[in-house]
């Protein structure tokens, strides 16, 4: 039982923070990055690859560095702090995680090696239009003709899908055979990119007889692994949200200390400082849940991780909504503007939750299990 980072982890955090500060130290740089064609900073992506950050979760055999969940969490927190639009969660954690979980050794070495080096960007296509967080593919169907697999259907939103070189697609297998995972090259699909409310990019991807390569043993139902990788992504998304919330609380506190109204700084008004205190309470409680959920991953028990994903998902969704709303409210009008980071952070928190699982979703799942245990055990 230890909630502290070791020296190497601290060093990783500082290195990543330093790099991100060079790029996104000023919110204006973020605005330019999301307005660019790619929607993020390719140069930064390259430097993340050089630092080994893109290969963090993958084994050295696969071209990665074999770090643990705590390290990946640190990176996500730092990305969140500056609202970095890089598709790290989508490409490395989610799509890369799927490849690492179900791919053959050759597939892993190939795809994850090129992902880690920054050569290709992956995106996971696992959600159908109107779909809601399921590991059973319902929008894309796989067909087998001889040895050739093809996919048909639509996936949307595919986060990172606008720039992906390869898609990692969950698709319904023939004859109700469950859900498989396939790799599809970008030139085999048609896609329409768009920006989400936080200006990060996603795409609608249409598969129309698109040639596909099964990941791992062809035709096997992989929905368990798909669910676990979604849970891991949820937990890493919570790390990212934690970084956003930390920045929002800090920005709000700084603003209250500096902004004057009625001839005095805003921290003269007790009603406002108490609300900042409540933001801090939410932040710290969510922080504990994020650390805890991240630590559960090392245990390697699917069910424990699934439970942790729901718990941290609910916690950051609640905290994020509270903090995101209060951050804007305590800033007043300036919090509504795109040129100021705080409102964009609120948008980013919502996008993370609606993408990875919102409070309603996680609460529903936790409610279903509530009579299965007497007490929730933290350790």
């Amino acid at each position: 039982m230890d909630f502290t980072y070791d020296d190497e982890q601290q060093a990783l955090r500082e290195a990543v923070r330093g790099l991100l500060k060079q790029t996104y130290g000023d919110h204006e740089a973020r605005r330019q990055a999301v307005a660019s064609d790619d929607g993020f900073d390719r140069a930064l992506w390259g430097r993340l690859a050089e630092m080994g950050v893109l290969g963090l979760p993958f084994s050295e055999d696969d071209g990665g560095v074999g770090a643990g969940p705590v390290e990946i969490g640190i990176v996500c927190q730092e990305l969140g702090r500056v609202l970095a639009p890089e598709p790290y969660l989508a490409s490395v954690v989610h799509a890369g995680g799927l490849v690492a979980a179900v791919g053959t050794p050759e597939q892993k070495a190939d795809l994850l090696g090129r992902l880690s080096s920054g050569e290709i960007v992956l995106a996971a296509a696992d959600t159908s239009p109107g779909g809601r967080w399921t590991s059973r593919a319902d929008g894309v169907r796989a067909s087998l003709d001889g040895n050739a697999w093809t996919l048909d259907g639509v996936a949307d939103p595919v986060v990172g899908g606008e720039v992906a070189d390869q898609f990692v697609v969950t698709a319904a297998l023939p004859d109700d055979g469950g859900t498989g995972v396939f790799v599809v090259a970008a030139d085999a699909v048609s896609r329409t990119g768009y920006a989400a409310a936080d200006l990060t990019r996603a795409a609608s991807v249409t598969f129309d007889g698109s040639a596909a390569t099964p990941l791992g043993e062809p035709g096997r139902d992989l929905s368990e692994s798909i669910a676990t990788i979604s849970d891991l992504t949820r937990i890493m998304g919570a790390n990212q949200a934690l970084g956003v919330m930390q920045s929002q609380v800090r920005a709000t506190t700084d603003y209250l200390k500096s902004r004057k109204q009625f001839g005095v700084t805003l921290n003269t008004f007790q009603a406002l400082t108490f609300r900042a205190a409540d933001m801090y309470v939410e932040l710290e409680l969510a922080h504990s849940m994020v650390d805890w959920a991240t630590m559960t991953i090392a245990g390697g028990d699917r069910d424990v991780v699934a439970d942790a994903a729901d718990r941290v998902g609910l916690a950051v969704a609640r905290a994020g909504r509270h903090i995101g709303q209060e951050a804007i409210q305590l800033h007043g009008g300036i919090g509504m503007t795109a040129e100021y980071a705080v409102g964009v952070g609120t948008a980013h928190l919502e996008v993370l939750d609606q993408w990875l699982g919102n409070a309603h979703h996680h609460l529903t799942r936790l409610s279903a299990r509530v009579t299965d245990h007497e007490l929730v055990e933290a350790v």
Partner: protein, 383 residues
């Protein structure tokens, strides 16, 4: 005490229901009902259609196009309008500068401006807030200095909603820097095509261009465009901001938004947690609507009822809460918020996140909820 509307009021309501659907084109009303953005032309078209029927500015003096309605009738007018998806007449014209000119303006100003204001031939903008004068409006710094018959205006306004469409702007300026801060303020009407007026867009977090900065550099304004007396600006501003008893909270529009959400939510309405959240919101909205009716029933003599702050406070909270529910029901589809119309995601789901973000303003603009709590604790509770 009785719940039923009188025969007269029932007939009045029926007449409104009928008038709104027949007067304003379906296309415009659908745009409102589905939460899409109106164009400038649609807003103008709608208000002119209403004005032709005497429905745009009923609360104005009768001689300037008003109707001699009771407060309850004005309430019914306002609610039925929202229910039918009719755009509320532009607030800057109908609720703000129109009543101000009618009350404080010279005869010349009335004749020159009121008919065009009612008909939206002039689109008014509001020039009150400044970068360092938000909730503390009285600390504004934009100056107007006398030069012959003219005033010369310098300074910056901000949060000017729809200022990009503005023809004229009613502006609070400091005409006397020597006296106590409220006392040195006056109201000027400024033609936005005047040399030295510059409107710069502010991009909001929902991606929309809804508010603006307005810069004044040596803008010359003829002396007859000052409303009331020099130094009377603060009194006028208080009149303007406290003028409305009807329509303080967007009850009808929020009810409508929730009803639409229920209809579009599909299977999610089978979920007990969703049903409970909707039932709770419907109940809170009922309480809000009834409180609006009580305020209307009690207010007399043109003084705003202090409970207006209750309406503003709770009204914005509920408006925001409905948008939160929409976002949670939209789920992953809400990520497609800036996708084009050919997106496979449904329109309501694509609009959910921008609407949620946009409505954060509701508790900030026009007297933040903190200001409303202060009014309640001081004015009503005497704290």
């Amino acid at each position: 005490m009785q719940l039923e509307l009188s025969q007269t009021d029932r007939e009045f309501r029926d007449r409104m229901r009928e008038a709104f659907t027949s007067t304003v084109p379906q296309e415009i009303r659908d745009t409102v009902l589905e939460g899409r953005h109106l164009t400038r032309d649609q807003i103008v078209e709608s208000q002119r259609a209403l004005n032709a029927e005497g429905l745009a500015v009923p609360h104005w003096p009768v001689e300037w196009g008003g109707q001699d309605w009771t407060d309850l009738q004005r309430h019914l007018w306002h609610e039925e309008m929202q229910r039918a998806g009719v755009p509320i007449p532009l607030a800057f014209n109908a609720s703000m500068i129109g009543p101000v000119i009618a009350q404080f303006g010279s005869e010349e100003q009335k004749e020159r401006f009121l008919p065009k204001t009612a008909n939206l031939d002039i689109w008014w903008s509001q020039g009150f807030s400044e970068p360092d004068a938000g909730s503390d409006l009285a600390s504004l710094r934009t100056t107007a200095v006398r030069d012959g018959d003219d005033w010369v205006v310098n300074g910056q306004k901000t949060w000017t909603t729809l200022g990009q469409h503005g023809d004229w702007i009613f502006t609070l300026v400091r005409t006397d820097p020597e006296v106590k801060k409220q006392a040195g303020i006056s109201m000027l009407l400024i033609d936005m095509t005047s040399p030295g007026v510059e409107v710069r867009p502010i991009e909001l977090i929902d991606g929309g261009h809804e508010v603006n900065e307005v810069w004044f550099s040596d803008v010359r304004v003829p002396g007859d465009l000052l409303v009331g007396e020099p130094g009377e600006g603060w009194t006028i501003a208080k009149f303007l901001l406290g003028n409305e008893r009807v329509g303080v909270a967007p009850v009808g529009a929020t009810k409508r938004a929730l009803a639409t959400l229920k209809a579009t939510a599909g299977d999610l309405m089978d979920d007990p947690l969703v049903r409970a959240r909707v039932a709770e919101l419907e109940n809170d909205l009922l309480a809000l609507e009834l409180t609006a009716l009580r305020v209307v029933a009690h207010s007399a003599g043109g003084e705003p009822h202090p409970a207006s702050s209750v309406l503003k406070l709770r009204g914005t909270v509920l408006q925001q809460a409905v948008s939160e529910l929409a976002l949670d029901l939209a789920g992953p589809a809400s990520l497609a918020s800036r996708a084009e119309d050919d997106s496979p995601q449904e329109g309501w789901a694509r609009r959910a996140a921008p609407t949620y973000l946009n409505l954060r303003k509701a508790s900030i603009y026009g007297g933040s909820n903190e200001i409303q709590r202060q009014i309640i604790s001081r004015t009503i509770l005497g704290l």
